[in-house]
Symmetry: C2
């Protein structure tokens, strides 16, 4: 792909290949940690200090995709804020709360499907709005959000670092299609982009959040010292790259196309992530946990892995290679997996990070 800042949402619609039906891995990650965020909110969210006359509590989900995980995440937040509000109302006479939820994603996200698949009960719980725009920049007015959530999003960079597609650069990524940590200069280029993007993300959120407001961020990172190619998601992407190479031999795509293609995706090591967050001075880090993904130790089925990565990557692959490539590529990928199944137990583990930041 080119290095411009195009955007590649998850697969839209609600057919078999859609993100809607292939996002249970992400959901398991959310479920695994929600209890701690609930506890934090219950003990620490300072409704009175935010605004004693608060009548609308606003929640934003940054990079919401098309559901259902986003509905699940925001409902969790609403449930606990309601409980907190009820408790505080017994001591102080607070105004009844209405909730407004801002569902943010890129302008080419499938908002139609998002709106049409909202749980029917959500209408009683909150006012929904869709916010089109890259979260690597402001998408909401100043001081307008009480809790911002983001789940499994910040590994999507605003763009591929230019040098990894430049054959003359030492950071050229050859015919790999992602940052698998096999070329040091490539990792460095991705890391620089990630750090920059994280700075922009947090700066924008700092402006959008009210004082005392929270960011709840969930995502994946690598333990320090672990390289991407040693993990199963790294192996998956390297295998997809191998399948593309096979397709070159058959004339179904070209070597040049592969050389120019890199995923705008980077999973930082945990200390890098921490460093990137600590750089921002507008927030205090209230909680930062690096935990195992609940499904990490499980032997996932080949079908599950194929469907999951098809839902995540088909848009970006289609954009670069054309839409005729996707079916063939994932057919080949499934076949390769069945011949050489991933040995999940032997793989190094990616981790899930779970962070709560508070706007100073």
């Amino acid at each position: 792909m080119s290095t411009s800042s195009h955007s590649y949402p998850m697969s839209g619609g609600d057919d078999n290949h859609s993100y809607i039906h292939n996002s249970s891995y992400q959901k398991a990650g959310i479920d695994g940690v929600q209890e701690k965020a609930r506890q934090y909110i219950l003990e620490n969210l300072d409704l009175l200090n935010m605004n004693p006359n608060l009548s609308t509590f606003t929640i934003a989900d940054f990079g919401c995709s098309i559901g259902p995980n986003t509905f699940h995440a925001v409902q969790n937040i609403i449930d606990i804020v309601k409980l907190k509000h009820l408790k505080e109302s017994q001591e102080n006479s607070l105004v009844p709360l209405e909730f407004q939820v801002y569902f943010n994603d890129l302008p080419n996200n499938d908002f139609n499907t998002l709106f049409r698949t909202q749980p029917p009960s959500s209408g009683q719980e909150y006012f929904s709005v869709g916010v089109p725009g890259s979260f690597y920049g402001r998408v909401l007015p100043r001081n307008s959000i009480h809790i911002g959530n983001t789940s499994f999003t910040t590994h999507w960079l605003s763009k591929v670092p230019e040098e990894v597609c430049d054959k003359k650069s030492p950071a050229w990524n050859k015919n790999y299609i992602h940052c698998n940590d096999l070329i040091e200069e490539v990792t460095e280029a991705y890391k620089v982009q990630f750090t920059k993007d994280m700075r922009v993300f947090l700066k924008a959120r700092a402006e959008e959040l009210v004082a005392g407001g929270l960011i709840i961020a969930l995502g994946q990172c690598l333990p320090d010292g672990v390289a991407m190619y040693q993990t199963w998601p790294g192996i998956v992407k390297d295998t997809i790259g191998d399948c593309l190479q096979d397709m070159v031999t058959l004339g179904l795509t070209t070597e040049e196309k592969i050389e120019m293609f890199n995923l705008p995706v980077y999973f930082p090591q945990s200390s890098e992530l921490k460093g990137a967050i600590e750089q921002n001075r507008s927030f205090t880090i209230e909680m930062m946990e690096i935990v195992s993904h609940p499904l990490e130790a499980m032997q996932l089925s080949n079908n599950f892995v194929t469907s999951m990565y098809r839902a995540i990557l088909s848009t970006v692959i289609e954009e670069h290679f054309g839409d005729s490539v996707v079916d063939e590529l994932f057919r080949r990928f499934a076949k390769k997996l069945s011949k050489h199944p991933i040995d999940f137990e032997k793989c190094k583990k990616q981790m899930v990070y779970h962070i709560v930041l508070k706007r100073k």
Copy 2:
């Protein structure tokens, strides 16, 4: 169609038949009156009284459809509020304003197209959000909107009055497909529904608007004493009904289907409209003008009329008669028009109403 409260948005996408490319009649109506709304805002909008520390000015367009008219309407409002803010800032030190625009329409409106066709400049002007939901009910939090706009929307009722599809009722509308004012009981049933819907619309907006906030409403009505069947839009819909009858003869649809089909559309006479608005005690009527549509006296081409009504009605027709009917129906309609062109000069005129309401 059934009398349930299904929703029928304008034709989505951006092909030849889409609302995007067939909404210039509505735009001409907006252009015709915008200057007066600008003047009103400039002279009367009370920014200081709303909130001296106001940092986000919020505008909602209720029933925005998919553009481009909605972008045009909100930009007009923003331009004049900016001017007003600049003027007031010279006397009082006001906080710089950011704008947030809520684009509201039914959940099955094509929000994807709306977001993807926003003028590139809009990103510098305001934060956009899409609000899925019927405006015959609350769609936004209490006290959250400064100016609400609605253009050519409130003739779409929340539902068809049940009795007009009931063969045993004196208000049965026979094989007419809309309220053409030929059957008194039908008109009465539609009028009751319109009055009820207007009450619900204004009650919801009264809750959503801040004190001092404005509703700018634009739409079509009939002069007192004029019947729908005497106007060219009435003739158009009666002619579409005739074409459906012709299709019964050929076995392309059935008499029963037509008898159960009525458009959820009603254009009140101007005194009715005024009465419906005056019933609501939460607003003062700051301006109420009934003017001619700038294109009313023009001889519109058959192509223009066919394309315009196809964009408006194809969704609701398709839902009831099936998608195979739409092409054939509008082919026949175009043919009938070319044989019997509408004599626009002889028709009675519909009027454009333009209202500014202020939240007490």
